[in-house]
């Protein structure tokens, strides 16, 4: 009745609520989409593959004044092996229960056939490109297991600057007077957060031990993807060993609980007292977290009215239905009874 009486009003309200609902769904969609946008935060899913084991990705960022060395990494790997053994987890055959990578940042002069540049360099070790699967334009990635560590990976911008092209696999650049072979050329991340976070220009990736031999630099970032039999297992291992570092569980950061916590601590999130300078991918991830938090807030805002409207409509409908039933039920019952009586009579006849 009320809908019939206020048809236009109800329609208008319905459209508004529908619009708000759509917006809420869009925000929800954006929320989940943002969570899977950054490939650098999806290493756990990639590493898990078809395994039944749970995995978690953890990153540790060290203060500018105190990084770690390769020797610390070797020691930590032994710790991880032991911790996994303590919970009865042991890799069989070619399986692996964890993979890691480490990196340091700096600058280096590099010369190609067409020019030279002082380029930002990310000195990498371990399986860095498992965590950062940048799209290859040519060639292949570099890894610690490579026999020769005189290979580098350029990004497109630097490749254009030094050679004027991107098909450069096998060519040579000169760094610190020594030749280095180009293993591949990669395309940087295309998501908006990474584009916004990375402002250094054309850069390259080279083996950490070679870079350290040229310019002694401590490792500033360590990433680990590890079997996670219980929540927080991998994070605790990293925190225990690298107490001074800023440790983050990447695989849990875009979940709704973490997002809700980010919303609550939104004001203090940017407060940094540990002297850690995050690499661009972590800055991009934090940017995504902020956006995700905003999407969650908008979702909550947008869903409130439709929810209230839906509840109100249900209540009204229930009431109307109740009245109608009370009114028409006896009449209908009588009509039904009469029809049955007539049928029966017709049958008897």
């Amino acid at each position: 009745m009320i809908f019939k009486r206020h048809k236009k009003l109800c329609l208008s309200i319905g459209c508004v609520l529908l619009a708000l609902l759509v917006l809420a769904m869009v925000c929800l969609g954006i929320f989940f989409r943002l969570g899977s946008r950054l490939e650098s935060q999806q290493a756990a899913e990639r590493f898990q593959g078809e395994s039944q084991e749970r995995f978690a990705q953890v990153s540790a960022y060290f203060p500018a004044t105190g990084g770690v060395t390769e020797q610390d990494i070797w020691t930590f790997r032994q710790t991880v092996d032991q911790k996994l053994l303590d919970v009865s987890l042991e890799a069989e055959g070619s399986e692996a229960l964890y993979a890691d990578a480490y990196s340091a940042q700096g600058e280096i002069a590099v010369e190609g056939s067409r020019g030279r540049a002082t380029a930002p360099v990310i000195a990498v070790g371990g399986d860095f490109f498992l965590f950062h699967p940048l799209q290859l334009r040519c060639g292949s990635y570099i890894s610690q297991s490579d026999l020769m560590h005189d290979r580098v990976v350029l990004d497109e911008e630097l490749a254009w600057k030094l050679f004027g092209g991107v098909e450069l696999a096998g060519l040579t650049v000169e760094i610190n007077g020594e030749p280095y072979v180009i293993a591949g050329v990669v395309q940087r991340e295309k998501d908006s957060a990474s584009e916004e976070a990375y402002t250094l220009g054309g850069g390259l990736y080279m083996h950490y031990d070679r870079f350290n031999a040229i310019k002694e630099t401590k490792i500033s970032c360590y990433e680990l993807v590890c079997a996670n039999p219980i929540s927080g297992f991998a994070l605790d291992i990293v925190k225990e060993r690298f107490a001074a570092a800023d440790c983050v569980e990447n695989s849990a950061r875009f979940k709704i609980e973490q997002c809700a916590e980010n919303v609550i601590n939104f004001g203090s999130r940017t407060l940094k007292t540990d002297g850690v300078i995050h690499p661009y991918w972590e800055s991009a991830a934090r940017m995504m977290e902020n956006r995700q938090a905003a999407a969650l807030v908008l979702f909550v805002i947008f869903i409130i009215l439709p929810l209230i409207g839906a509840i109100a409509a249900i209540v009204i409908l229930l009431k109307a239905a109740k009245g109608k039933i009370r009114r028409e039920l006896p009449e209908q019952m009588e009509k039904f009874s009469q029809r049955r009586w007539e049928k029966r009579a017709a049958k008897e006849e």
Binding site: E50, R137, Y141, E178
Partner: protein, 641 residues
């Protein structure tokens, strides 16, 4: 009715729109879907070879470099060569200024100092070792010991003798005891006899005759006792002389004819007793007249006579007493008793006197025995004192000998050490002389010549400069021995190369060169012998110059494999290594492609490709790269190229 038409019209419009959209999506679904799918680039898996390249850099240097050094401080007058110049053995390199070098002067001074020290040492160490004083002291001690031992011998008391003396004392004591007992008994008997006699004394029945006779008997006994004492005393004094006379007389008697006619011992003894007095008088008169022997003999003879007379007097007195008693006792019924008790008394007195004498003799014997023992004890004490003295002297003697021995050993040691020092000094002097000679002859003529053929690599001094001891003046590369280059690699990389392999050489990153490099050895890198190895290459060819920086690339011997994929196609996760191959499925709207995971094992790897084995075969399409992450069985679209 119109309202119904409007309702149907609305539905019709919606249905039309729906169908149009459906058709649109159907025709363009492939395109739309393709746009949303990840785009991948693929490559064939094919057979081929894997060649691992080990790359690095090194610097060319001569295998042998001759260092021209100088062993003294001299001024360089002129430098005859320059870097890069070719020289032959015997070519002039440097001209030195004249004069002694500082090293030669210092060497000469050192030699003089050593020679002076040697002379002083010769004088100081002329030691003479004299042991006369010590030997004299030892001899003195030995003499003292011998003398003391000789003195000691006089006081040696054998155990037998001492035992005999102590036994004699014991025997004498026993004899004294026995005599004492007997004397006591005799005294007791005398007392009893006296008391018995007093009862029956003739003084009861008689008067003075018996008493007088008794008194006379008593006096006679006293006179006898005195005479016996006198005799005993004189016997001690003159017994020896008397014995001499007695023995002489006996000899005379035994030499007489009458004696010789006697046959039995008793006859002979009786004859001797009979004639002894006369012969003794005769012997004294004949042999000892006017001597002490005569005096002694006469004295003793008189004493004996006095004793005999006294005995006779006693007997007479006894007889007189007996007569008196008999006369007195004629009418006395106790006469026999009186005589009996008188006899008893006489006997008891006589026994008492004998026992007293025996006791006295026993006591004297005991006293003598004790004296003997006492004397022996004194001798023993003296012997012990001498023994102690000898022991003390012996100890001193041994100390003196030991000290002398030690002194000799010390002196011998000192002598040996001195000899060693002197020898060392002589050796130092010889070395110093050699050094002077060497320095003197080292730069004869003040010129330095090359000893090898080669190219002067560097000249480290200029004209007018002052050299230092052991300074390298120039380095000459001995080109005849060739050139080499070293490259540091990891132990893992070193395993991939084989000695004898050739390496590619480039002198700049812009290209190759005519230089050839052959691996001649692999050894530990001194900088990090645990983890690093040094590859040593023999360098030859055109344009080889020492100091040239070269890049070397040496490969492991190629091996062929059935399936080789690009490194970018190789992926890994918790389940191991794998690749994605493209699987095509036909569909009404065209082929649909999906990515299929194939687990593989990496057999070998180089910079570009990896040899794998597993569920992949040659000519499978492997996905090398994609625009988005792909998963197993995910739909994909191929890159347009």
């Amino acid at each position: 009715m119109n309202e119904k038409k409007k309702n149907r019209g609305w539905v019709k419009n919606v249905a039309i729109i729906f169908l149009v959209v459906l058709l649109f999506l159907t025709f363009f679904s492939n395109t739309i879907m393709n746009r949303s799918l990840p785009e991948v680039s693929v490559k064939y898996a094919e057979s081929g070879s894997i060649t691992t390249q080990i790359r690095g850099t090194g610097t060319i240097e001569a295998v042998d470099t001759y260092q021209v050094t100088i062993k003294e401080s001299r001024k360089i007058k002129s430098v005859a060569v320059s870097p890069g110049q070719q020289v032959a053995a015997g070519d002039l390199l440097f001209v030195l200024s004249e004069g002694d070098s500082d090293e030669l002067a210092a060497a000469k001074e050192a030699l003089e100092t050593l020679e002076l020290s040697y002379q002083k040492a010769l004088i100081t160490n002329e030691a003479e070792y004299d042991y006369t004083r010590q030997e004299r002291a030892i001899t003195k001690l030995e003499k003292q010991i011998n003398e003391t031992d000789a003195l000691r011998r006089d006081y040696l008391v054998s155990a037998e003798v001492y035992k005999k003396a102590t036994d004699a004392v014991k025997t004498a004591e026993d004899a004294v005891n026995v005599a004492q007992v007997k004397y006591d008994q005799a005294a007791k008997d005398l007392k009893a006899a006296e008391s018995d006699f007093e009862v029956v004394s003739p003084g009861n029945t008689d008067g003075g005759a018996v008493t007088a006779a008794m008194n006379a008997l008593e006096a006679a006994r006293k006179a006898l006792s005195d005479a016996e004492n006198t005799l005993e005393t004189n016997t001690l004094l003159y017994g020896a002389h008397y014995t001499i006379v007695e023995n002489a007389a006996k000899s005379e008697i035994m030499a007489s004819d009458e004696y010789l006619t006697l046959t039995t011992d008793s006859e002979r003894e009786a004859f001797i007793n009979q004639k002894l007095g006369v012969y003794m008088d005769y012997v004294v008169t004949r042999d000892h007249k006017g001597t002490d022997i005569e005096t002694s003999y006469n004295t003793l003879t008189a004493n004996k006579k006095a004793v005999a007379d006294a005995k006779a007097a006693v007997n007479s007195a006894k007889a007189a007493l007996d007569n008196a008693v008999v006369n007195q006792q004629a009418g006395n019924q106790n006469q026999l008793n009186y005589l009996y008790y008188l006899q008893n008394l006489e006997g008891a007195k006589a026994t008492e006197e004998v026992m007293a004498k025996l006791l006295s003799d026993a006591k004297k014997t005991l006293e003598n025995a004790k004296g003997e023992v006492s004397a022996l004890d004194e001798k023993k004490d003296s012997y012990k004192k001498y023994t102690d003295t000898i022991e003390g002297l012996q100890e001193n003697l041994e100390d003196a000998k030991f000290e002398l021995e030690q002194q000799k050993k010390e002196d011998e040691k000192a002598q040996k050490l001195t000899a060693l020092d002197m020898q060392a000094l002589r050796n130092d002097i010889a070395k110093a002389r050699e050094n002077v000679e060497k320095i003197s002859t080292g730069t004869a003529g003040g010129e330095i010549y090359s000893e090898v053929n080669g190219i002067v690599k560097s000249v480290n001094i200029t004209s007018g400069g002052m050299t230092e001891y052991n300074q390298t003046l120039a380095a000459i590369e001995v080109v005849d021995r060739g050139y080499c280059a070293t490259m540091s690699v990891t132990a893992e990389q070193a395993k991939k190369v084989t000695v004898g392999d050739f390496a590619n050489v480039s002198t700049g990153w812009w290209g190759g060169s005519d230089i050839t490099a052959r691996l001649t050895s692999v050894r530990n890198d001194p900088a990090n012998p645990r983890e690093k190895r040094l590859l040593v290459f023999d360098i030859s060819g055109g344009g080889v110059e020492s100091g040239t920086q070269i890049s070397l690339s040496i490969g492991e011997r190629s091996r062929s494999y059935d399936v080789i994929v690009p490194n970018s196609a190789l992926r890994s996760d918790a389940n191991g290594d794998f690749v994605y191959i493209v699987t095509a499925k036909p569909s009404p709207l065209g082929n649909r492609y999906s990515a299929t995971r194939i687990d593989v094992q990496v057999l070998a790897k180089d910079d570009v490709n990896a040899a794998v084995s597993g569920g992949i075969s040659a000519y499978d399409y492997v996905i090398t790269t994609s625009t988005k992450p792909i998963e197993n069985n995910m739909l994909i679209r191929m890159a347009e190229s």
